[in-house]
Each structure stands twice: as C-alpha cells, then as structure tokens.
Symmetry: D2
Subunit: 308 residues, 4 copies
C-alpha cells in the first residue's frame, strides 16, 4: 500500500530538502535567527514564567498501546547514603528508564520516514539500533529558543476543549491568530491548544489518546507558508486521531518531519498558558524548549517554559 | 564521626529554614521574581543562544566511581517501523536508562542530607525508594529561568583552566565579577567557570573527576550574602575534590542544598559561553535551565541555554 | 497498627531463626542435601522436561497496581550490525529493564520484613537502595535444585481452577498429596497449583491478580512440619488476595520469608506440568529453579524446569 | 569485503538448514531427546550441584568496549515499604537494566547473521527493534536440559589456564575427552574450559576480554560430527580473540549460530566445576541451563547448574 497521491502533492509543496544545503540536519530551526530571539526577548512584559511539561512519572500518558514507549520508571540507587562513612553528608541518587517520546517531548526529524527517506532525502536506514539516528538526531537541535505564539483554537471557538473528532484546520489557526491579536511570523514556535490534555489531567488516559482532536493534514502548508520553526500541541498524537483520511496514518508527521524538517511537540500542557495569555491579553512570548541532547535520539523529553 | 564545629558555624550563618515558610520546598528559587526575569529579558542584546549541556551518551562523564550513577544507555524499540502496515509512514522510537545526576544536571534540594535532615528541617527519611523525595523533589522547581551571570574565574586569573587543587574562593568570585564588569544580584543564577570540563572534552574522564578544582567551603556564605538563586559549574563534584578539610566530604553540598535550599548544577559546559561572553563583553544574560519534572527525583538532567 | 496476636503465635511455631546458625542466609534451602538431589535424579523416569516460566514481555502479568514493578521492556542496541566492517559477520544485541518480581520469579528472603526484622533476626534496614540486601540476597541462594512435588489442588478438587475466594488450606494440600499418590518430604520444593494463571493466559490480567485464590495463613505451619525447602504457585500474590483476615496483609509472605526463611515463587505456569503429571501419573520430579544471581537483589526472574 | 572462501567451505560442511524442517527455530536442541535426558539423570551419582553463573552486578565483565552491552544496573523501587499502612508487613522491590549478553549468557540463534541470513535461511531483517527476533528468539529454546560434559582443555594440557593466544582445536577437545575419560555424544551440551575467567575473577576485566584463548574456527566441524546440542565456555568472546585469520571476525559465531543452529554460551564460570569433576573423577553430569524466556530476544542471562 502506497501513500495516496493527495499526500504526495502536499509533500511537494511543503518540501524543504536542500533549502539549507544538502548537509543540513536541523530544517526549519534555521529560521530562528538571533534577531528573532532578540525581538522575542524584547517583547517580554511581565517576566511571568509558565512551565509547559507534564510531570514525568510512572502514571504518565502512555497506556501501553504504542509498543515500547514506556512511561518513566523512577528508582533509587542511594537514599541518604553516607558514602564517606558514618556521620558524613549523605547522598540520594536516582535512575530513570523511559521512552523518549513518552511524555512532553519533541519528535526529532528522523522520528518518522516515508518511502525510505527521512528529512533532506537521507536514507531511512541511517536510523539504526546501533547508532540511533546518524543524521538529524535531537542532539543536533541545539538552540530551540524563539518567539512562541499560542494559537488557542479551543478558546477561539468558545469551548474549553475541542471535540474528539475535530481536525484543526488552517482556518482554525487563522481564527486563533485573530482571537489572540497576534500574527505568526518566520521563526516562531507555534503552540496549538486543543484542550485535549484536560482529559488526561482528569484521569482518563485512554480517552486522552483516542479519539483525539489534532492537526489536519492541511496544516503543514499553513506552517510552511508562514515559515514556522516548530509546532507543539496538547495531544498524544499531534494530528487528529483516528485520521481524517482512511488508511492515511500520520500524514502530518510525514509532512512536518520528513518533508519540511520541522520539529513537532506532543503532550504539552497548555492549560496554564491559556489562562496566563488570557489574563495578560498577549499570545506571544519568549519560549525556551531546549532538547535534552541525547546523541542520535529520535526524540527527547522537554521542559518548555514560556516567558511572558 | 560528626561534622566539625567549623561546618556547623557556617551552616548557622547561611541557614534559610523557615525563611519562606515551614512548607517551602524551593528555597532560594523564591528569590527569582517576575521582575528579575523581566529585567533579565530586557538585558538581552544580540539574541545569541549558547547551549550549556554536554551530549547525553554512553560515553559520558561517569566512570563507574559513583555506584549506580550510570551514563545514558540509549536503545531502540522501533526503527522505521511501518506500524500501520506496509507502505505507511514508518516510526522510530527510543528508550533511555540513565542516572539523573549522570550528565549536565541539577541537584534537587533533597539530594543530600546531614544530621538526619534535608532542607527546611524535614526528616531525611522522607526520601525513599518508594516515593523518591516527598519534599523538595525536582518537580517542585518549576520556574528555573532568571538572569544568569558567568563568573569566569579561570579567565579572570588569566588561565585556561584552574589547577586541580584550586579551591575557588569568595575572593575569586569577586575578582571574576570585576573581570566581567558585572555584579551578582538577588535572584541571579551564577555560573562559575573553572575550565575543568576541558579535561573531559579532551578525552580524560578520570582526570576530569579527580583531582578537580571547585568551590571552597567558604563560597556558600558569599552566595548567601548576595541572595543568589542557584549556582552551577563545569566540574563533576561541584566543590573542590578531594576536599579542602580532611574528612569533611561534600560540605558545600550540605550548605547549599540542606542549609540554604539552593539548587546546584554540575557538569555544565561553560566553554562556548566563556567565548561568547568574551566576544560580546557581557557576562550577564537570560538563562533558562528548566528541570525535567521527574516526580520525587533528587536530580534531573538539564539542557540550559544562555540568551545573550 | 500492629500485626494481630494470631499472627505472632503462628510465627513463633514456624520460626527458624538460628536453626542453621546466626550467620545463615539461605534458610530452608539448607534442607536440600546432596542425597535429596541424588534421589530426585534417580526418580526421573521419562526424561520429559516441562518449563514453568511465563514468557517475559511487555505484555506480562503486571498491571501497574504495584508501584515500580514493571513488565520487561525489551529494546535493541544492535540489529545485524557489521561491527567489524561491511560484509563481516553481523551482530544483534538487546537490553532489558524489568522488575525482578514482575514475572515468574522467586522472592528472596529479605523481600519482606515485619516488626523491623528480616530472616534470622537481621535488621530490616540492611536492605537499602545503595547495596540492595546485604543479607540473604537472591545471589546467596546458589543451589536451587531439588525434588519437586506438584500439589494439584485444583484437580484434586475436581475443578480446572479454584474460585477467586478459595484459600488453599493444609487439608487441600494433604488431599492433593493423596490425589497425586505422593508424600512431601524434607527438602522438597512444593508447587501448588490453583489454575489461576489460566485467567492471565486467557487475556484478563486484572482478573488474574484480583480476586485470586492462594495459600491460607494456615499453610506455613504445614510446610514447616514437612520441612519443605521452597514453595511456588501460579498466582500473582502467592497467598489468597484479598486476604482472609481483615487488615492482615501478606501474612504468608511474612511467615515464609521472615520467620521460616523459605523462598517463595509466584506467577509460575503449572498448566503444562499438570497435564504431564496427569499423563505420567507421577507428581514428583527433579526440579531445577536456579535464581539469576543478582547481587543483593530481593527477587529474581527464574526459568524453572521439571524433569519427569 | 566478503567472507573468505575458507569460511564458506566449512559453512557448507556444518550447515543444518532444513535438517529439522523449514520451520525449525531451535536447531541442534532437537538433538536433546527425552532419552538423552533420562540417561543423564540416571548418571547422577552424588547429587552435588555446581552453579556456573557469574554474579550479576554493575561491576560485571563488560568494559564498555561493546556498545550498549551494559553490566546490570540494580536499583530499588521499594525498601521495607509498608504498602498497606503503618505496622503492616513491609516490602522491598527491585528493578534491573542490563544487556542480555552482558554476563553469563546464551546467544540465541539470531544473535548473529552473515550474508543477510540467520539460521535456517531466514532473512536477517527478521530481527528488528520493533519485535526483536521474529524467528529463533531465545524464548523458543524452552528445554535446555541435557547431559553436560566438561572438556577441561586447560587441565588436560597441564595448565591452570590457556595462554591468551591459544586457539582451542579439535585435537584439544579430543585430548580433553581422554583426560576426562568421557566421550561426547549426540545431544550433549559441551562446556569447554580455558581457565580464562580467572583473569576476571582476579580483577582484570580488560585482560579477561583481550587477548583471550577461545575456540578455533576448526571446532564447529568437530561439534557437528558429534551432534553436540550446545556449547559454552569461560571467555568473553567464545572464540579466540583477536581471531586466528586476519579480518575474519567471529567465524565461530557464524558457523555455530547461523549454519548449525547451535546455542553458544559465554562468560560461564567453570572453575568450581573443574574442581568438582576432578574430585569426583567424572566429567559428565546432568546440566540444566534454562534460558529466561525473553520474547524475541537474541540472548539471555542464564544461571546454569551441573548436577553430579
């Protein structure tokens, strides 16, 4: 079964292969210039900081549906251990095992492939158990700080959260811009709020994942037109799930990561940010969302913070 | 063997227990106000971003000397797996196991205890294998963004890196302030550069850890006097190792974490930042160093970024 | 809340502390002499081998109810990697993370404590995150091979599996001896079949764990009278769950492990063995159930085999 | 670079593809019949049990040379935790992360491939990060109990351990048979003692791995002629390392696992067994070496036991 023609047509329109050179491994992060960051910092008004990561714990968002993507397992190797003898300062040390895509995370560019290719036309087999991703691993994305823009689609539509079958369209994005009196610019990191994370926060992990609102296959063209640097939202799958088009699974992943070379973020908690932006009547801010530099990894937990 | 009287006298002078209430779990992070952050953002000049984390990989800084503190083990659970059938978009997923204090990290307040107590006088036994840290776990430190100040002690002393037996003193810190034409203020996150990480970067992991320059037991009083919010440096042990005073192990840990309630960072790579600050002739910047919110953890990997 | 008087009375009767010396760390395994093993080997008739372990996989018996006791996570670090250059022999390597008590396992003696003590009166605090179990860790149990006896309580009662509220009593054990025409002797390893594992094998993991038939608090005295070396069964909790006596949780664990110093096994699949013993009309066999020698561990996966 | 003609000629002579059917996944384990096991049990004389596994701990045999093959990391998730309330029975639970080939282990048949094939001609790509090994995973090897024979090559040659450049030849194996007054028969599991593990036991992990005596490329034909079921020894690499023939890496692995379909064991501690066999003047015994049934794994820790 091949991907449908419709997909390939969009792919052609949003493709960035070669745009920043044949050796490029960071894609649309190239759009974040020092000037973009300088302006974003200059736009900070209150100094209010809003963290966007869900707590990392065994009772995380994963349900076992995605094989191997395990919630964090936290264990201790020292608890108040007087390593240098009785009466000395005592240490506690912990270890963790987790899926890099299990919680609030960034997908690295080689997280998905299609037709045997990852971003910039590299062969998919450059991802291996031995080395992880030889090209475009998350450790290459070293400067993920930019202006962030919250597109609060749920609030713009007058609801707390979107219905499970709501595909977020470019029209929704534009309406959220208007709602927030903000215009997405080149180099921005766009946060799309659906409100879906409320389902997880209310204790229903299965309902959180499925059915879930999420981005429509039509969104990547909008991101491409605006030269967005990265996009994150508050859902498990990022794009609407189950998908809009029968048997076309994860088309937004393929367009964003493979064709455009654009980082995607999932399971971001945008609830407090929605409140903060509403209160401050400002939907743009400085956003720091630095990947943990796991060498060759196809994703990473991230602890993003919006600075308003 | 009890801790020496000398230690207890300093402890008394820097103690912050109760300063922010009996229930406080974040200590000196309370000193980072919105206003501090607002001013730090307003101080951004170039938008240049400098990442401060070492790559996370199996060949990390740990040598096996600290039991259980393992370098990251990266493994794959999917490589280009067509989860939805042949010809569909293919996914790669990874998992990691690591010591939370193994790489570039923050120590959480309960990472050490002495005399049966952690920060704010809580019993040390509130750290357990079952729950990790019930009080002051790293997930409580939700807003670690502030003004950062680089105290480039090595350059201020005219060397690339300090000798292995150099204890960084308050006088060194003051000299580095002067060198950088900057004054440390309340709520700042201070980065102390020794240059020691060069030893690791040159391939000598054992030499990196020991002997190592690091903070003197006299530094916490200086941090306390300046109301510093957090301190990080570019060494394995943070404080000079082996210690200045025979049989007094980890006194700076005990003073910073237990008495003051101040986050400590280790294994930060300050080399590129040293160059950048030198070039831009500015040693203050906006620093984002958000902990990964591992619930109940006594430490966390961190991917800090300085925004100049 | 203290343990009830009833418990302490039984504890006194089955206590083996000091029986094999103050330094003993293996308890009733002392009862397995070379002669016991010699006779067990001499009793082998057909050479038929029956494995008793459940497959180790992410979809194992754990449901998340027991914090930290995770099913095995299997991941690859090499897949057909030509480590020595193109065209050379290629290697695949895997790693696993798992709870040592997650699948078919032995509980080591220090797996539980009560009233601050583990087996042989050692302080419970000799189990720590730093060293695991200093005394009685599973690595001390180096010779777990003996005569095995299947007490097929379910078949003896004429059912496929016992009801969820059935507490297996000494009378049940005696009836199963009679059913199997076998008499439990000193040094035997006793396998008690309830049939409960069928619930897991049929896909109902939650129903497998709760409610579950299992050993009554009265069984340890019977094991003690017979000088049994170890006991395993085909349930998650080993003893009846929820417990027979309100608020008396895990009394059989405390009696077996702490008082008697007797290894316990859980999640053993006794279905094929039940068939084999029925076909061969013999309920005794040579049993090898060697612990993986994890140093200081309070449990271990085990791959037992009955040789008929 | 292709494998040399010499290799392919041997491969042709020892190849077992199709011998037990096109669907076979266990290779030479087919040679272990009930009758073989019955006779092995009947041969037990003393009941003495000798364990053959090295302790599993962080300070294991791995040095970091083989990427991802990590020594066991043991950590606690409960230590004396009164899960059901104060004063109740308290539990300790542990977790482990480890390379499945890191300690005393079996290599599963698909652990290596050559020329794109694993045992029985299956494509190498049937090993993946997603599913591990679809064919011949270690969970398929469910009955690894047989007669064991110790070929004590070191003692037969009158030394404690073989020199680092000693390739064990078929002549060595035959001499060890004569030394032990034993003849290897169809279905036997052969243990080849070099004494090399003494180097690890003496604390020299690097010296243990390299240079190391081990099997010559000529041995597989001898094993094939005798219809051996499995072979294990007391070295890190199993075969002589560095190899006998320049640029021909791991030829014995390829012949044993891919061509013959024969399990290989490494890092077995044969020291105590050597003493026991010497004392009892018997070099054959019942051997139980059951794999932990990790589904799809290309190897497994094993805790073998010889019953004399």
């Amino acid at each position: 079964m091949a991907l449908p023609e419709e997909f390939h047509e969009i792919a052609k329109r949003v493709n960035n292969w070669g745009r920043w050179g044949a050796g490029d491994e960071i894609g649309t992060l190239n759009l974040i210039t020092d000037e973009v960051v300088r302006q974003a910092a200059a736009g900070v008004r209150s100094g209010r900081r809003v963290p966007l990561a869900l707590p990392l714990r065994q009772d995380g968002v994963q349900t076992g549906m995605i094989p191997g993507r395990v919630n964090p397992l936290h264990a201790m190797v020292q608890t108040n251990q007087e390593l240098f003898g009785p009466g000395t300062v005592a240490c506690s040390d912990d270890v963790v095992t987790m899926g890099l895509q299990a919680g609030t995370h960034w997908d690295a560019l080689p997280h998905v492939s299609h037709s045997g290719r990852i971003y910039n036309g590299r062969p998919a087999h450059t991802v291996s158990a031995h080395a992880g991703a030889e090209f475009g691993g998350i450790d290459k994305a070293r400067h993920v700080v930019s202006r962030g823009v919250l597109l609060d689609v749920a609030r713009a539509r007058g609801v707390d959260r979107l219905a499970g079958d709501h595909a977020v369209t470019p029209e929704d994005l534009a309406a959220a811009e208007e709602f927030g009196a903000v215009r997405v610019r080149a180099g921005d990191i766009v946060l799309v709020r659906t409100g879906q994370v409320q389902v997880y926060l209310a204790g229903d992990k299965h309902g959180y994942g499925y059915p879930s609102p999420g981005l429509s296959v039509r969104c990547p063209e909008w991101f491409h037109a605006r030269d967005v640097a990265a996009v994150a939202n508050d859902t498990l799958t990022f794009e609407i799930f189950p998908p809009e088009i029968d048997n076309l699974w994860l088309p937004v992943h393929a367009l964003d990561l493979v064709e455009m070379g654009m980082l995607q973020g999932q399971n971001w908690n945008l609830e407090e940010l929605s409140t903060a932006c509403g209160e401050e009547r400002r939907y743009a801010f400085l956003l720091s969302a630095m990947p943990e530099p796991f060498v060759g990894a196809t994703g990473t937990p991230v602890a993003p913070v919006a600075i308003l």
